[in-house]
C-alpha cells in the first residue's frame, strides 16, 4: 500500500536518485534584491559559484561518477559559455531555469513562450545537446504552465511537490517533485545586507545536514521513491562543505539497488510507465478545489 512495487524502477532498482544543481549565478538573489549587483561584496557571495563552486562540484561528481542535471538560466549560459561547456564535457546534463529568474505569473502567453524557447535554444546552442527539462525559477506555477512548457519543447519539470514519485500533468508533461529539506539553499544561504535568509538564522551543523539527508535517502530507498537533491555551486561548492557532499555521495553510490539517473532518464522512464493519477493525488484534488471555489476548468 505505502511501498511501491519494486518493479516500478528499471532493472529491479528500489529507488531513484537525481542529483540536481541550480546554477543561478546570483540571478535568484538579484530577483529578490535588485541592487545586489551594485554591492560588490555581497554579490561576490553568489559569484563564487561560477568562479569556484562549479569546478568543485564537477570534480566531486567525477570522483563518484554522478550523472547530475544542471539547471541554468538562459542568460547565465550566455554569460558563462565556457562554464557550460565544462559542465557538458563532464557528461553532465543541462536543463532550463528560464531566462533571467522571471516570475511567469506576471508574463503574458507570448512573452512566456518567447523566454522559454529562448532559454532552451540558447542552452542547446552553447552546449550542443538537446534540453528537455525545466525548473520554475521563481514565483508561483501559472495556470496550465505544463502546456506552455510542452509547447516550448520541454518534456519534464522539477518544480512542484505534493508527491515523492514522478507524476504526469494532464498534458503529459512529467513532473519530478522536489522538497525543500533536500535543497542546500535553505540550510546554507547567508548574507548580511541584503539579508538572506530574512531572519539571519544561524548556520546549521554540517553533520546535522548530512544526517538529515542520509535519513531521507534511507527512507526513500525503503519506500521506493524518487529522491531529488538540489545543490547550488555558491552554497555547496565550497571547500568546507565538500566533505559533507562527498560523505553523502559515498552513501548513495555504495548500494547496487539505487538507480542514479539524470532528469531526462527519470522522466523518460516515467513517461513510459505512468499510471493514471489517483483521484486523491494532489494535482487532481487541486482541480476539484478550484471548481468548488467557482474557478472553471481552463
Amino acid at each position: 500500500m505505502t511501498t511501491l512495487p519494486n518493479s516500478y524502477w528499471p532493472a529491479g532498482k528500489r529507488c531513484a536518485v537525481l542529483i540536481s544543481v541550480l546554477f543561478n549565478d546570483g540571478r535568484d538573489a538579484v530577483a529578490q534584491a535588485p541592487d545586489l549587483p551594485q554591492r560588490s561584496k555581497s554579490f561576490s557571495v553568489w559569484q563564487y559559484g561560477a568562479l569556484r563552486g562549479v569546478d568543485r562540484l564537477l570534480q566531486t561528481f567525477a570522483d563518484f561518477t554522478i550523472p547530475a542535471s544542471w539547471f541554468v538560466p538562459g542568460l547565465v549560459a550566455q554569460q558563462h559559455p565556457q562554464r557550460i561547456r565544462d559542465i557538458v564535457a563532464a557528461n553532465q546534463q543541462l536543463a532550463s531555469l528560464g531566462w533571467d529568474f522571471e516570475a511567469y505569473t506576471t508574463l503574458d502567453a507570448a512573452t512566456t513562450h518567447t523566454l522559454l524557447t529562448q532559454s532552451k535554444s540558447t542552452l542547446e546552442q552553447v552546449s550542443g545537446h538537446a534540453v528537455q527539462g525545466f525548473r520554475l525559477p521563481r514565483g508561483r506555477w501559472p495556470r496550465r504552465f505544463d502546456v506552455a512548457l510542452q509547447s516550448a519543447g520541454f518534456a519534464w519539470s522539477a518544480s512542484l511537490n505534493g508527491d515523492d514519485m514522478p507524476y504526469s500533468h494532464h498534458s503529459g508533461l512529467v513532473e519530478i517533485p522536489v522538497h525543500s529539506e533536500l535543497d542546500d539553499r535553505p540550510y546554507f544561504q547567508f548574507n548580511f545586507t541584503p539579508a538572506f535568509p530574512p531572519g539571519h538564522s544561524r548556520l546549521p551543523a554540517y553533520d546535522a545536514v548530512l544526517a538529515n539527508w542520509l535519513l531521507e535517502f534511507a527512507a526513500y530507498r525503503r519506500y521506493g521513491g524518487c529522491f531529488v537533491l538540489q545543490l547550488h555551486p555558491e552554497w555547496m561548492g565550497t571547500p568546507g562543505r565538500n566533505q559533507l557532499l562527498r560523505d553523502f555521495l559515498h552513501e548513495i553510490t555504495r548500494h547496487d539497488d539505487v538507480w542514479l539517473a539524470n532528469g531526462d532518464a527519470i522522466a523518460a522512464w516515467h513517461a513510459s510507465h505512468a499510471q493514471p493519477l489517483p483521484t486523491t493525488h494532489p494535482l487532481n484534488v487541486y482541480e476539484v478545489y478550484r471548481q468548488e471555489r467557482g474557478r472553471h476548468a481552463d
Partner: protein, 284 residues
C-alpha cells in the same frame, strides 16, 4: 521519585495521547482563497493525506500504538477512504474545523455553522460523531467551550498552559469540557516546517537536525512520564511524517515503548477516565 499526583488506570504511571493534525492544504490560504493560485503550497499540504498518513499508519501499527487524528472535514471529503482506514485501524478521529478556521475570528453563529457542517460530514462520510475537538491555528473565543458542549464534545485539546487534564468552567452544572492540554514544545512546526511562499517561519530559519528533534521529543515524553502526568502531541503528517522524518517518530515510539507503565490512549479514552475519576470533585 515523587508519586504521580494523578490517579491513572491500575499499573500506569502516566498517560500519553499521541495526536496528529491532518490539516492537508486547509488553513489560512484556503480561507482567504490565496491558495487557489498557489499549486506549490497546495501540494505541500496535500502531501500529508496523500503520502505521509499511510506510512504513519503503518508505523503506528508496527508499534501497536493508537492515536487521535484531528481532521478538518474538508480533508475528510477529499480523502474519505484514508479517513476510513484511520478509523479501521482503531484510531480516534476528532473535530478540527472544516477548513481549519480560526475560531477566535468567528462569531458564535459562524462557529456554530462550522461545527454543524463538520458534524454532518463526519456522520455522512464516516458514520461517526466525534467527541473531541482541537482548535485550529490560534485561539478560540470565550463562548466556544459552551458551544462545543452542545455538540456532544467531551474534551478539547487546545490549550497550552498545563501538563495534566483539567475541566473548563461549566456554563451549567459542575464541570465543563475536559481539557487535554498540549504544548508548543511538541508541535512539529517549531522544528521542521519550512515554506517560502507564504513564508514559515517568518525569518526562514533553518530546518532542525532530525536526530536532535528526536532526542527533544523523547525527553519531553520522559519528563512527563517521570512526573506521572499527561502528554500529548501536535504533529502534522505533512511536516513530521515526510519520509526521512518518520525516523524521528520511530525513535520517539521506541522510547515510549521502553516503558510498560505508560498508558498510551486516545484522547477520548483519557477524557472518559478524567470524567469518571474526577467528574464529581472538579479541578484539583
Amino acid at each position: 521519585m515523587i508519586p504521580s499526583p494523578i490517579r491513572w488506570p491500575a499499573g500506569y504511571r502516566s498517560a500519553v495521547a499521541l495526536a496528529f493534525d491532518v490539516d492537508g492544504p486547509s488553513g489560512d490560504a484556503m480561507l482567504d482563497d490565496s491558495l487557489l493560485d498557489n499549486l506549490r503550497y497546495f501540494g505541500e499540504g496535500s502531501y500529508g493525506p496523500y503520502r505521509a498518513v499511510p506510512r504513519l499508519l503503518d508505523l503506528l501499527a508496527q508499534y501497536q500504538l493508537h492515536a487521535t487524528f484531528f481532521i478538518p472535514t474538508w480533508v475528510v471529503t477529499h480523502w474519505t477512504s484514508l479517513c476510513e482506514r484511520i478509523l479501521a485501524a482503531g484510531h480516534e478521529v476528532a473535530y478540527h474545523g472544516h477548513r481549519h478556521e480560526v475560531f477566535f475570528d468567528l462569531t458564535i453563529d459562524q462557529q456554530h455553522a462550522v461545527m454543524e457542517q463538520s458534524r454532518a460530514i463526519f456522520q455522512q462520510r464516516l458514520g461517526i460523531t466525534p467527541t473531541g475537538f482541537r482548535t485550529p491555528s490560534g485561539d478560540w473565543s470565550t463562548a466556544t467551550a459552551t458551544l462545543l458542549h452542545t455538540f456532544g464534545v467531551k474534551y478539547s485539546s487546545s490549550m497550552r498552559g498545563d501538563d495534566r487534564p483539567y475541566f473548563h468552567p461549566a456554563a451549567t452544572g459542575r464541570n465543563g469540557l475536559v481539557e487535554l492540554p498540549a504544548r508548543w514544545d511538541m508541535d512539529d512546526y517549531t522544528a521542521l516546517a519550512y515554506f517560502e511562499d507564504p513564508a514559515f517561519p517568518s525569518g526562514l530559519d533553518r530546518l532542525a537536525d532530525y536526530r536532535a528533534v528526536m532526542r527533544n521529543w523523547s525527553a519531553e515524553f520522559q519528563g512527563y512520564h517521570r512526573d506521572g502526568l499527561f502528554w500529548t502531541t501536535i504533529l502534522h503528517p505533512k511536516v513530521s511524517a515526510k519520509p526521512g522524518r518518520l525516523s524521528i517518530l520511530e525513535g520517539l515510539f521506541q522510547t515510549i515503548r521502553q516503558y510498560d507503565d505508560v498508558w498510551v490512549a486516545r484522547g477520548n479514552d483519557v477524557a472518559d477516565w478524567w470524567i469518571q475519576q474526577y467528574g464529581q470533585g472538579g479541578n484539583k
